[in-house]
Structures are given as C-alpha cells and as structure tokens.
Symmetry: C2
Subunit: 247 residues, 2 copies
C-alpha cells in the first residue's frame, strides 16, 4: 500500500503541472516524489526570499522546504550583496542575487529575526521591497519581516500579522496597518503575512494551496512528514492587538 501511495504521489507530481516549461517523464524517486531529471527542468517563475544579517533561520528554511519542489517556481535568496549571509543562529546561507541584479520575482518573501531592528532603517532594503512589490503576484512575510513591509508602506490599509513575542515593536513600525493579534497568518489581497518563525511554514503551505491547489499543499506537507496547522485563525500564540485592532 505504501509503495502504491508513493507511486501515485510521484505520478501526480510528474505529470500534474501543465505550466512547467519542460515536463519530465522519468519515474520519481520514492523519497522526494520528483523525477530524477528535475534539475534539467526550466522553471518559469521565481520566489525570491530576502536575507540580511541575523535573519531567523526557520523563517527562511521552513518555506524553502515547502516551496523547493514546486513544478514551475524556483526559490532563490537575495541580499543587499550576493554571497554568504549569517543567520541569527550563526549559520550562513548563500544569496544568489544582490538587490542590484535581482530579476523581478513572482512571489516575494521577507523573513524576520533580530536583524530586522537594523533593516527597518535601511533604505536599500525598503526601496528593494517597494520596487519588487510593483511586479509581484504575492508579497509575503514571516515573523518580523512584516515590520519591513510595514515600514516600506506596503501594508498601508491592509490587515497583517507578525511575531507575537515582538508584537509591540513590529506593529510600532506603522500605524496605517490593521494589525491582527490572533492569526497564524493573514491574507489580504496579495499580501500574506505570518506570525512568528514556524508560522511561516504553515503560511508557505497556504501559498502552495493558493497557487497549486490543496492536494499539492498536502503533498508538500506529507513529504516532509509535517503536520500542517492549516487554519489561518488557529493561533496558539495569539496576543491582544490593542484597541481598534482585529483580534
């Protein structure tokens, strides 16, 4: 039964995407469900994740896990300067693009971390996310990444959420946002903001569902043996967002 299930998953993944420029026909690997020749597949769309010194590790890599095998979206890291960028947990990831040479992304994601305390005052990153946002279909954030989007003015007039342990600081970056204190993630138009750290993984699966459908999101979760908190309003870490705000 398990083998049949794996085979079924693999076949769905191999032939399920009509929008990938090159469809692969090889049998999928049982661990990953992807065809062996995946690296030869040209992906037509890009998800760009912005990294900066002291970004929060799981904010970035939870979504990468869930977005890393989509049929026609490639995930790339971008930073002010291309090259290694150190996370708050002390491990370096490599940004492929700089702000200067980055292509237009279809989906933008800004993570949080203690580094956001510097970045909300960094005009380069604020300009970059403003410019990218003009061409994205979705602009997303995890944790205090919402503080950067808010400071850039992108969330003006929108509902949004952020890290619950840093809620006061993050929400102080803009009083033009309708901050939501009780939400695992919030979707408002093309803006999808998540609560702290691991909430980003749940949000990233909601993005998969939005773009590729529920079965694809469930597959991404199952491959990672991940129990998805799939309800945007189920928030075990909720806080009081204050008078006038959505709870």
């Amino acid at each position: 039964m398990v083998r049949l299930f794996i085979l079924w998953i693999g076949l769905v993944l191999s032939v399920g995407s009509a929008s990938a420029q090159t469809l692969t026909t090889e049998m999928p690997n049982p661990e990953t469900g992807r065809a062996v020749s995946e690296h030869a597949t040209v992906k037509s769309k890009r998800i760009g994740i912005v990294v900066f010194p002291e970004f929060e590790t799981l904010d970035v890599f939870g979504p990468i896990q869930m977005w890393g095998r989509l049929p026609d979206h490639e995930v790339v890291l971008v930073a002010q300067k291309a090259g290694p960028v150190r996370s708050a947990q002390g491990v370096e990831a490599v940004a492929t693009y700089s702000f200067e040479n980055a292509p237009q992304f279809d989906i933008l994601m800004v993570p949080g971390g203690i580094g956001t305390r510097q970045e909300v005052n960094n005009q380069e990153i604020l300009d970059f996310v403003r410019k990218q946002d003009q061409g994205t279909t979705l602009t997303t954030s995890v944790c205090t990444g919402a503080a950067i989007l808010a400071k850039a003015g992108l969330l003006d007039g929108h509902k949004a959420t952020t890290n619950k342990l840093a809620f006061s600081w993050a929400t102080s970056q803009s009083n033009k946002v309708n901050w939501v204190g009780h939400a695992r993630w919030v979707e408002d138009g093309k803006y999808i903001t998540s609560s702290g750290v691991s909430a980003g993984t749940d949000m990233s699966l909601a993005v998969v569902e939005k773009v590729y459908g529920r079965e694809a999101a469930d597959r991404s979760a199952s491959f990672a043996e991940y129990t998805w908190n799939d309800k945007a309003d189920h928030d075990p870490f909720a806080v009081d967002a204050g008078p006038g705000s959505k709870k």
Copy 2:
C-alpha cells in the same frame, strides 16, 4: 502579562547556564530572549551537522532553529570540503569545517535527503561519522541520515528509525539494526534517530530537553511559535517495519 513572561524567559536564559564559560548580564532582547552580547559568549561545546550535496533543507535547519541559542552549545556545519553545499531544494549553506579539520563534536547530527543515496557509498563520510562517534555524547540523525549511520555500522544492535517514505531503502542499508516503523524519533543509548524531515525538529527539542531540561525545550519551541510533537511514539506517518521489527 506577556511582557512579564518575556522578561522571565529572558532572565532564565541569561542566568540559567552555569556551564557557559562567559555569562552575560545584559537584558535580553524581547524577540529572541537572548542577551545582546551573546556573540561575545564563548560556548564550550559543539553540535556538528554533516552536510552533503542534496541534503534535505528542513532536516538541517529545523534543528538549527532549536539548537541555535543554547547557552553552551555552538552549532556548526561540516562537509567533506568546507564551503557552500547545495540542498535538495537548491539553496546553498556554508560548511565551516571540512572532514579533515573538524574538531571533535559533542553532538553529531546527520541529515537525510536524496543525497544520502550517494553518501552511503562514500567511504569519506562513513569514516568521518565513525571517527566522530567515538567522542560524542550523542550521535543523532534526521530522515535518511540514519541510513548513513547504519551503513557505518554505528547502529548495530540498536533500535532506530528513519524517513517513512523511504523506509525500505534506508533500512536495507543494514540488517543489524532493529528498525522501528512507528516512531517520531527513537532514543537508544546515545543514538537518537528521527523520522522524516520535520520529525527532526521534534527530535532536536528532545535533545534540548535531555541536555538542558524540559523548560529549556519548551522555551526553544515557544520562541519559534512551534507546537512541539513531544511524544517520541506519536507518529502520524508510521509504516509497518516488517516481521520481527518493533512497530
């Protein structure tokens, strides 16, 4: 209340470790709960995570999230050659150490990913984990990382688990292991092996509990707004391990 809770968490983190060589006294940052001068703290112990081409992203970065702020354990990446190593999701992480110049680690962790198909036949990595294992207090794995430990002979006579979608392949690497098909993770002596991908995050919190106690593990989870599956035998992705094996 939330602020008081944060203050309490921070104070516990700041003064809770008698074994760190340098104790910090600054007030903690509310987002991270760590003292501002953390980078100046000399950590006396190391957790070494082995990376190789096509490692599975969350296998590595879920545990790094949970281990990245322990008072006296630094987390480092090690690979056959130091430098950037590409994950199965296409993003590069930087290995600080090579097999040749790596120090003895206190805790070793081997992740999974499609790259393990090559690595089980790589004498360099098998020799490296065997050598490290002689000096570790804990030797751990996530996902098909257990296949590497098994092939190296380290799990002979022990109970262990691995990725459930790749269970047949991984367990075929050694018939001297008592493979467990129903387990989020398995602890047997100093060997702690977890099931697939996100199970590693749950296992990493069990390691925090083992070394620093339950409160520290709960704090690591709460900081990441993570709902910990804290029961080793609660496995939503269990498989039949076959006759003679523990279920």
